[in-house]
């Protein structure tokens, strides 16, 4: 029988034993890996946060607010309110407002974004994510994505 298939009984048992040992080891490794894998919190799909009263903002002024635990920069431009994720798309630093340049600036690697969130200078590879803003009863409301 073994001559017909070219695999001896001993070789077959070796494979079986090795495979069994690997499967047995995986039985330990898999739960450990899944344990250290971050448990994802699933909160509500969207969240709305107040950034303050409309009167709190003069033109070209900004505010930093936390929406669903994430930092958001809210700007008042002549065209209205804009809100962007304040996490720089380069290496995750928190952006701020450069009042002189009228641009959003990252303090880490001198990245700049225009008032539409598009990168205009420095290393950021992508625009800042924009969030919805609405003025409701004189209150500036920012909606998470």
């Amino acid at each position: 029988m073994s001559e017909e298939t070219g695999i001896s009984r001993r070789t077959f048992l070796d494979w079986l034993l090795t495979g069994g040992l690997i499967a047995w080891a995986m039985g330990f490794v898999a739960p450990v890996l899944s344990y250290v894998w971050p448990a994802q919190k699933r909160g509500p799909g969207t969240q709305t946060e107040s950034a303050g009263k409309v009167d709190d903002f003069n033109e070209w002024e900004h505010k930093m607010v936390a929406v669903a635990g994430q930092p958001v920069i809210v700007l008042r431009t002549p065209q209205g309110f804009r809100a962007f994720s304040a996490i720089c798309t380069h290496l995750g630093c928190i952006v701020g407002w450069d009042a002189q340049r009228h641009q959003i600036a990252c303090p880490c690697h001198a990245g700049f974004f225009d008032i539409n969130g598009r990168p205009v200078a420095g290393p950021p590879p992508r625009p800042l994510a924009e969030l919805g803003v609405a003025v409701i009863n004189g209150e500036v409301m920012v909606k998470s994505a």
Binding site: C93, I94, G122
Partner: protein, 389 residues
């Protein structure tokens, strides 16, 4: 080496201690090659500093609390309230810096003396892993005080891992324990820093030492032409080399205490995930890589920054010449000198970049890539910043 007779007698009735004594005696009086000098003490210094890290680390753990609410305050407690807490933390923080420095000097000595060549390739590879492990210690420990600098340096550092093709985001998520740097990250880094890495490094060092003791120190003779050490010319490990090491240890302890007193380790401000401060820079040993990454797009930069590490790891297999003496290895020595020079240049540029500096009365802003720009009207604030240490 003989044990006191009472202890020897007691043990001798229970075990055959002659082979153990003989082994210890051989190790203690092992003859070392005549080239063994002060440059050979940096390996032992690294080991001594590792012991220092373990002892001071255990002492810091007595008061340290690895949570976002308590980490910063517990370190402040260590610095201000615990007796000699400032000294323990200083020994730990400066000890880490000096340990990395000693490992680097030890590797540089090994490189230029050709000691990585056959049959000691594995010893070198374990040495490279020891360097990697030591640097990882630095990276994980840097976050633990939970201050602004450590928080944002960790944010940037872990963000870089996200650039690894395919697996990057998973590695980042695994390291951080979530999307951002949070209490989950602190807990993970703490476990790595105080449990996982110490054991890994202990194993690596034990293997490295075992290989070094079994194969002996390299001489300057050509590969394959090594002769047994001439006992008349040899340097005995004890007392000659141990005495040399003791002298350097004393100097090291003096340097350590001087650094702690003159440049105390600061705590800064508590981490604020909503505000990134200006001038975030990594620790000095990451500065060359940090600067190198700025010249390339994210993914390419990561690949380029891996080249020196791969070169280091594979060097014994790339340089297969038989000569060990630096004068007879012009290519290897040139590569080594160029590598060192580049690391220093990138490190200095990384340190100076994104800063306002004054040079010969003129004010310059050094941009992200290290190019100085003359400033016509430096503001008063900038001038103050330049004068600040």
């Amino acid at each position: 080496m003989k044990l006191p007779s009472a202890i020897r007698g007691w043990l001798g009735q229970r075990f055959d201690i002659d082979p153990v004594e003989k082994f210890a005696d051989e190790q203690l009086h092992k003859p070392l090659p005549k080239e063994t000098g002060f440059w050979h003490t940096f390996g032992s210094l690294s080991l001594f500093l590792f012991v220092n890290q373990v002892v001071t680390g255990i002492l810091l753990m007595v008061y340290y609390r690895p949570t976002t609410n308590a980490a910063f305050e517990s370190v402040r407690f260590i610095m201000t309230k615990a007796h000699f807490g400032w000294l323990i933390r200083g020994l730990h923080a400066w000890g880490a810096t000096l340990m990395i420095l000693c490992v680097l000097i030890h590797m540089t000595r090994t490189f230029f003396m050709g000691a990585y060549k056959k049959p000691r390739e594995l010893t070198w590879i374990f040495g490279v892993f020891i360097l990697g492990c030591t640097v990882t210690f630095g990276f994980t420990g840097y976050l633990l005080p939970w201050n602004q600098l450590s928080y944002w340096a960790t944010t940037v550092g872990t963000e870089i891992t996200g650039a690894i093709p395919a697996a990057g985001n998973y590695i980042k998520l695994l390291l951080r324990g979530g999307e951002g740097v949070t209490g989950e990250t602190l807990a993970r880094f703490y476990v790595l820093h105080v449990v996982v890495l110490p054991w890994v490094l202990t194993m690596l060092i034990a293997t490295h030492l075992f290989l070094m003791r079994v194969q002996g120190l390299a001489t300057m003779e050509r590969v394959g032409d090594e002769k047994p050490i001439d006992k008349k010319q040899a340097v005995p490990f004890f007392p000659h080399h141990v005495l040399k090491e003791s002298m350097v240890f004393c100097g090291l302890i003096g340097a350590l205490v001087t650094l702690i007193v003159l440049w105390p380790v600061e705590l800064g401000e508590k981490a604020n995930p909503l505000v990134t401060p200006e001038g975030i820079k990594p620790e000095w040993y990451f500065l060359p890589t940090y600067q190198l990454l700025k010249y390339f797009p994210k993914e390419l930069g990561l690949f380029v920054s891996l080249i020196p590490q791969l070169l280091l790891l594979l060097w014994p297999f790339l340089d297969r010449g038989l000569e060990r003496h630096p004068k007879k290895r012009p290519i290897a020595v040139s590569v080594g000198v160029a590598g060192l020079a580049l690391a220093i240049i990138f490190g200095v540029v990384g340190f100076l970049s994104e800063r306002h500096v004054t040079f010969q009365g003129k004010h310059y802003f050094i941009d992200i890539k290290g190019v100085p720009h003359l400033e016509q009207n430096a503001t008063e604030g900038q001038k103050t910043a330049e004068r600040a240490p």
